[in-house]
Every structure is written in C-alpha cells, then in structure tokens.
C-alpha cells in the first residue's frame, strides 16, 4: 500500500512541478502584460506628440509696398491694423512661383502659409515701421498640412485624393526645401497661445491657466476643509450615530463616479445659485467636493500615525485639546497631510468629466484673467482637440497630454518624496 502511494505521488510530482512552473509563468506574464500596456500607451503618446514641439517656417521674399498694403507711406497704427498683409503674402508667393496659374492651383499655393502669418507680419511692421517700402526675406509660419509634409509625416505613396497635401504642393515644398527656404523651429506658440481653429496656431496657454485657476480654487477650498474635517473626526468626534453617518458618507463619496459631482455642480451651483458657467470658480468648487474624501481619508491616516505621547505631553503641560492639536499634532502630521492633498490635487488636475457638465468645454482663445472668466482646463482641451478632424490636432493632443503628464509626474514625485521623508521620522 505504502509502496503504491509513494510511486503514485512520485509519478504525479513531475506533473505538479510542471503545473507550478506554468503557474509562475502566468504570474510573470500578467506582470509583463501590464508593463507592455504601459509601454505601448506611453510610447504611442510620446511618438505622436513629439513632432508637435517643432514647427516649420518658410522663408519668402515679401515686398512691403505701401500701395500693395493699401496704406500711406507713413502709416498710422490704425492703418496698419487694416492693412492688406494677406494680399502681400499671396503676391510674394505668386512671384516666387510665377508659373502657377488657375484659381485652384493658386489657392493650393496660398495654403502653404498659415493664416496667422499676416498677423505676424503686421506685428513686425508695427514694431519697425521702417520696413514699409522695402523688400525683405521673411520667415513665415507654414500651414499645418505643409508643415506635416516637411516633418515627413505624409505618405507620398498614397493616392493623391487620399492625402491632404497635393502633388503640386509637394513639388513647391520640395523646391523650397532645396533652396534652403524651410526651417524647423521650436514651437513657441504652443505655449503662448490659446486655442485656435488652425492647428499650427493653437496653444495650451489658456488651458494651462484655466487649470491653474481651477486647481487654485480647489486647493483653497478642499485643503482647509479637508484637514479640519479630518481633525474633527480623528480628535474630537464623539462616538455616536452622527459621526458614523459622516464617516459612511465620506467613504461612499470617495467611490461616487466623478460625473455625478458634475451633475451636482450643474444643478446646485449653476442652476440654483446661478454662478457663471464655464468658470474656474465653479470647476474648482466641483473638484474640491470630489477631492475632499481623498484629502480627509489620507489626512486622518496621517493624524492617526502621530504618536500619542506627543498629545499626552502637550496636554500634560496644560495645553487645551485644541492647542494640542493645532500646535503639536498637525505640524507632525503635515508631511502626510500634504502627501494626500497633492495626490488629491493630481486627481483633480487630470479630471475632466465633471467639468464637461458645468460647461468648461467652450472654445477658449483668450487667456482667462480670473476665476470667473470662461475658461477650459488642460484635460478638457485634450478632449476637444482629440475630437477635431484636422490631422494637425492629433499631434497637438498628444503634446498636450505630454505636458499634462509631466505635471502629474512632478506632483506625484513630490508626494512620494514627502512620504519618504515622513517615513524616515
């Protein structure tokens, strides 16, 4: 009998060990899959977004002729604002490619240069009125489609009808490039402009400032309220039904979908209190309600971790309970509280769904000047650009994501650093 079972066990051992090895491989595979997903996600975004940080310029000879600009020889500022820079650019292009004829071809030619170029030209004349009457070689911003060809993103093997950049445009661009008239520069406008319908003129400054204002409101509401609530629950709350109710509510709010907070904001802040739509003020209020549970829960953990001896010592020398908490417990718990708050702020920075509900999806060209101006935030700007059909916006979206992720990584690194320091104590 014993002989039989031993051989049976020995016979099965091989199988069992094989299964054990297989199981370990499943585990490794699962971890690896997670890594692969993360890698694909990041690589996809970075590879799509990197080209957006450069922009192509085309050098053309512009004739600042007063007649062509439809201004007098010594133009006033108003005259320059009304001047026909667009016509001048078009004429310069025609002069550079004299054999282009036909309306369709001409229009294709004009489309090499961004619509925004005339404003750049106007600004340079406003700065230096002496340009009038001269002929200058000027670098002008390329149209996003032309730019994408110059960046090598256009598949020329494709049928002409299937691509935005046509054969004749490719020919012109190639000849411009051969003459050294094209140049790639760092995309400054991406960081200094608001939204635009033209990909090459669109920037994230308005969205970044909107995010900053919104986060500021969120922080100033959620941080004090969250910390004070945590202090109450951890240090003063009596054990009764009301306290239980509050605790249950905080735990449940932490799991409520963010979009529901948006509905709350829409119904209460906008429709009932009639606060302005699309404003960072309301956005910040909604996000602060959303991040409040995170801040309360982490602050409570931090306060709990403060050794009781500190409280006892303070109470022993005659401090009141409130003095004990505010003068002794909170300073010790501060790194932990800040860690939790930063994580909550990072959540708020990446959040977009509730902000869609309160109208922060507007097309914002102007940089907001305060917390009640209509504005958008970075994640919502990403959402809007991702929806745009123009190809040029895809890389802008990815670039905006890279900026957003940089901020998030910075915030999380700060939180980790604080936590490390905290743990050392």
């Amino acid at each position: 009998m014993s002989y039989n079972s031993t051989t049976a066990i020995q016979a099965s051992l091989k199988k069992r060990y094989a299964r054990e090895r297989r199981f370990q491989w499943y585990g490794r595979l699962a971890v690896l899959t997670g890594f692969v997903f993360l890698f694909i996600l990041l690589a996809d975004i970075v590879s799509k977004g990197t080209p957006a940080f450069t922009q192509h310029f085309i050098r053309i000879a512009v004739n600042f002729d007063a007649d062509k600009l439809e201004v007098s020889a010594n133009p006033t500022e108003e005259e320059l604002y009304a001047a026909n820079f667009n016509g001048v650019i078009k004429q310069s292009l025609r002069e550079m490619f004299p054999d282009v004829s036909g309306r369709k071809d001409k229009r294709a030619l004009y489309k090499l240069i961004s619509i925004g170029a005339e404003y750049d030209l106007r600004d340079s004349v406003l700065e230096n009125p002496g340009l009038i009457g001269t002929k200058q070689e000027v670098w002008l911003r390329a149209h996003s489609e032309a730019g994408s060809y110059l960046k090598g993103q256009v598949d020329t093997q494709l049928d002409e009808a299937d691509r935005r950049v046509k054969d004749n445009q490719i020919q012109w661009l190639d000849s411009l490039r051969a003459e050294g008239r094209t140049e790639s520069r760092f995309n400054v406008i991406f960081f200094t402009a608001g939204d635009s319908r033209e990909p090459e003129l669109a920037g994230i400054k308005a969205a970044l400032l909107g995010s900053a204002y919104t986060l500021l409101v969120t922080f100033f509401l959620a941080f004090p309220v969250g910390v004070l609530a945590a202090i109450y629950l951890e240090e003063f709350a009596p054990r009764n039904r009301l306290t239980d109710l509050i605790e249950i509510n905080i735990n449940n709010l932490a799991a409520v979908p963010s979009i529901v907070f948006g509905l709350l904001g829409l119904a209460v802040f906008i429709n009932f209190f009639e606060l302005p739509r699309s404003a960072p003020l309301v956005g910040g209020m909604v996000l602060s309600l959303m991040t409040l549970p995170t801040i309360i829960i982490t602050s409570r953990a931090a306060i709990q971790a403060v050794p009781p001896s500190i409280r006892q010592a303070a109470l022993g020398v005659g401090a009141s309970p409130l003095q004990t908490v505010f003068h002794h417990v909170i300073p010790v718990a501060m790194p932990g509280i800040l860690t939790g708050s930063i994580i909550g702020m990072a959540q708020a920075l990446g959040e977009s769904a509730p902000l869609l509900m309160i109208g922060m999806v507007a097309f914002i060209m102007d940089v907001p000047g305060g917390v009640t101006d209509p504005s958008t935030v970075l994640p919502v700007q990403i959402f809007l650009w991702a929806d745009s059909p123009e190809r040029g916006f895809t890389e802008k979206t990815s670039a905006a994501i890279m900026v957003l992720m940089t901020f998030l990584i910075f915030m999380n690194a700060l939180a980790i650093y604080l936590r490390r320091r905290f743990e050392m104590k």
Partner: protein, 462 residues
C-alpha cells in the same frame, strides 16, 4: 459695492476689532494688576471679539445672496407689461434672460424691445440698491456683534474656551460637509429625475428597449415617441464593463499573486509603483488612446480576418478601460492576499503542497470574499467611468451583446445630453439627471455590498 469688496472690508474690520478686543483686555488686565490675572491671553479676547463681528455678518451675507436673484426676479417681473408676464414658462425664461443679459451689459439695447430695456434698467437700479443694502446690513451686523463682544470682555470671561467652542463647531461643519454633499447629490438628481418621470413613466424608462432622445424635436412628441428606454444603455454599459473586467481581473489578480507570493522584494519594489502609474494616467488620456490607437487597430485586425468591426467598438473601449483598472484590482487583491494569515500558508506548504496548490486551494478560497468585494468595487469604477467611453464608444443605443459593435453607455448619454446649450426643463436634460440617479444608486449599491463583504471577511481573521 461688489460682494468681494464687502468681504475685504469685513476682513479689515475683523482685524480692527481683534486689536480693539486685545487692547481692551490688556487695559482691563493692567487695571487689576497684570495680564496673568485675566482668564485667557489677550489675543484670545481679540479672537473672540473678531469672531463675534464676523459670524453675524457672514450669516447676513449668505442669507442675502441666496435670496438676491429670486427677489430681483420677482420685483422685475411685477414691472413687466402683462403680455410679457403671460408668456408660457419657456418663452418667459428666454425673455427674462435677455433682460438679464442687457442688465449685465452682455446684450446690446438695440437687440431688445423697449419694455425689456426698461426692465433691464430697473433690474440694474434694484440690484445696485440691493447690493448697497446688503453691504450696509452686513456692516451693521458686524458692528453690533463687535460692540457687544467688546463690552462683554472682562477678566472673568473665558475667552479661550469661547473661541475654542466656536472652532469646534467650525470643525464639525467641515466634516458635516460630506453629508451635505451626499444630500446635495441625492436631492438635486432626485428632484430633476422626478420632473422627468412626470413626463416619461418610470416603467417605460426602466423597461423600454429603445433609447433615442435626439428624435424628440418638439416637447409634445416625446411622450408619444417613447424613446427613453434605458435597457440598451444598461446593456451597453455592462458589455463594456464586462470586457474591462475580462482584461483587468485576470491580469490584476495574477500580478497581485505573483508579486505577493513569488516575487523578490526588490522586484516587487520596482514593479508595483511602475504598474501603479497606470492608475495615475488621466482618463482623458486613455480615451484618446482608445479612440485613436486601439480602436483603429482592432478594426484593422478584425477586417484582416474577415470580421466587420465598428470603428467605435465596445471591445476597444472595454480593453482600454480594463487597462486602466488593472492597478486598482491589483492593489485591492494584494491587500487581501496579504491579509490571509501566514499560518494557513505554512500549514499547506508543510503538508507538501506546492506553492501553486497552496495558492489555488488555500489562499484564494480564504481570500475569495475579499477579492469578490474588490472586483465589485472595480465594476462600480467601470460603470461610472466617463471619458474613455465618451471618446471611444458610440452614441447610438443598440441592444446587442456583440463587443465588435458600437454601443453606448449611461455616462456617454449623460454627457451628450448635457454638453452644449440646453433648456433646463426639457425632457432631454431631465433624462440626464434620471440616468445620473440610476448611476449613483447602482454604484452606491455596489460599493455598499463590496464594503460589507470585505469587512465581514476581515473580521474572520482578526
């Protein structure tokens, strides 16, 4: 005077009152022979005086602000010509909004008729008068409070205890905000949802098989068209969530098992934070990834083997949502597996079981309730997730269980119904709140069950 300037002035006033209170207590202290004979430090008397000035003023301001719009609207409406007042509610809303727009300088007078301009001017006069009255009242309240407090100061007054009492109430108020938020969510969503169910019967909403709110052009068509059936949305939501769970549960659970039972400490210390990056990526980024990378990839893959795949397939949204939830499932399972006492592991290993037999036959059964709870939490996450599905899932409600087709979800419909200009009492807008109500209660239910399961399980080993 603007509210913000009033608040600034009140703050300045509080500083003055604080100093007055402190000075007075010092004077009183010196009179009886030194500060140490006062019950509290001079600054506590200052704080007390400042608090007594601030609290009545704040109460007045809040009361005034919450009644301001309504009172103004009522007064202006009385001044309007009778033909304007007798307009139906929605037309009147438009008419009144123009008046408001004119009064706030956003609409030019030339676009409006004379009665509206007159009403707008009247509104502006009234608003100015109301604002001055509000400011005056607030200052008066602050002044009365301050005078009362300063006169009240005497060496025997327990100023510190008094101030601390007020602070305790503030602390309580801050934590009570959580209850108020929940109440606000429930009430605001419920109120609008009830309005909605007055137009669309509840049974039709809960059991209707068709959802097409966009068809409702005129308000009176809606009830007849019967296009507010919620079942397709529920099926779509569950379909996408199921795909997400199929991705996240095996990967998350296996990763957690491997990391807690097999991996070396160093491997774990590196791997876990890296995988948790997935949890920190904003959902809008996942949405972009799903819509522009995963969905086209899946469609091409499907077409290469002869399947027709919608460009906004449930599969793409579900897979990406699954990726998002992996770290969530992982850290929850990790906590729960680690909570299983080592004695169980050691007993099993001591009997000669291999590690994987121990895991499958001892650890997992012991951890099962907790893992189920964690999965329920993950499901509630998936159901409430918005941006991924808004960007990568479809808009038209289709009743199908095929993950290759485009389906829509509850959250997608909430967003599409509410983004952009809307009238606040149209059934379309109200439907979004009804969906919000369902979403809130479904996720609440899942969370309550999950927490209950997890807690019961924990008690077994404590």
């Amino acid at each position: 005077m603007q509210t913000s300037t009033v608040i600034l002035f009140l703050l300045a006033m509080c500083v003055v009152v604080y100093n007055l209170g402190r000075k007075r207590s010092q004077v009183l202290g010196q009179r009886i022979g030194g500060y140490s004979l006062l019950h509290s430090l001079p600054r506590h008397y200052g704080y007390m005086a400042a608090a007594w000035a601030a609290i009545p003023a704040i109460v007045v301001l809040i009361l005034a602000m919450s009644f301001e719009e309504r009172w103004l609207a009522g007064m202006v409406a009385e001044q309007l010509p009778p033909e304007a007042r007798e307009l139906p509610a929605d037309k009147f809303g438009l008419y009144y909004n123009q008046v408001l727009g004119y009064a706030q300088g956003m609409v030019g007078a030339e676009q409006l008729d004379a009665t509206q301009v007159a009403a707008g001017d009247y509104y502006r006069r009234l608003a100015d008068r109301f604002a001055s009255a509000k400011a005056a009242l607030a200052f008066l309240a602050a002044l009365v409070g301050a005078i009362f407090a300063i006169r009240h100061i005497s060496p025997a007054v327990r100023a510190r205890n008094h101030v601390e009492g007020i602070i305790r109430w503030v602390l309580f108020g801050c934590s009570f905000l959580a209850v108020l938020t929940t109440l606000g969510i429930v009430l605001s969503v419920l109120f609008e949802a009830i309005q909605f169910f007055k137009i669309i019967p509840l049974s039709e909403f809960l059991f209707g098989l068709e959802w097409s709110p966009q068809m409702a052009i005129r308000a009176d068509q809606v009830a007849a068209s019967g296009s507010f059936g919620f079942i397709p949305l529920l099926v779509g939501t569950l379909l996408i969530s199921a795909v997400a769970m199929l991705i996240s549960v095996p990967i998350g659970l296996m990763s957690a098992i491997y990391l807690s039972e097999y991996a070396t400490n160093r491997f774990r210390a590196v791997t876990k934070p890296v995988l948790e990056i997935l949890a920190g990526v904003p959902t809008v980024v996942y949405g972009f990834f799903a819509a522009l990378t995963v969905a086209p990839f899946i469609r091409e893959l499907g077409e290469s083997i002869g399947l027709s795949v919608a460009s906004e397939s449930a599969l793409a949204a579900g897979i990406v949502m699954g990726i998002m939830i992996i770290p969530f499932v992982m850290s929850l399972s990790d906590d729960i597996i680690n909570a299983v006492p080592d004695s169980l592991r050691e007993a099993s290993l001591g009997m000669g079981a291999t590690m994987n037999e121990t895991i499958r036959k001892v650890l997992l059964p012991a951890a099962l309730p907790g893992i189920v709870g964690g999965i329920l939490l993950a499901v509630s996450r998936a159901i409430g997730e918005t941006m991924i599905v808004v960007m990568a899932a479809g808009l038209s409600a289709k009743l199908t269980a095929n993950p290759l087709e485009a389906v829509t979800t509850i959250t997608v419909q909430i967003v599409t119904l509410l983004v952009g200009d809307q009238e606040f009492d149209s059934p379309k807008t109200l439907a979004a709140f009804a969906l919000g109500l369902v979403l809130f209660f479904v996720t609440l239910l899942l969370n309550v069950i999950a927490l209950y399961v997890v807690r019961r399980y924990r008690e077994q080993y404590d």
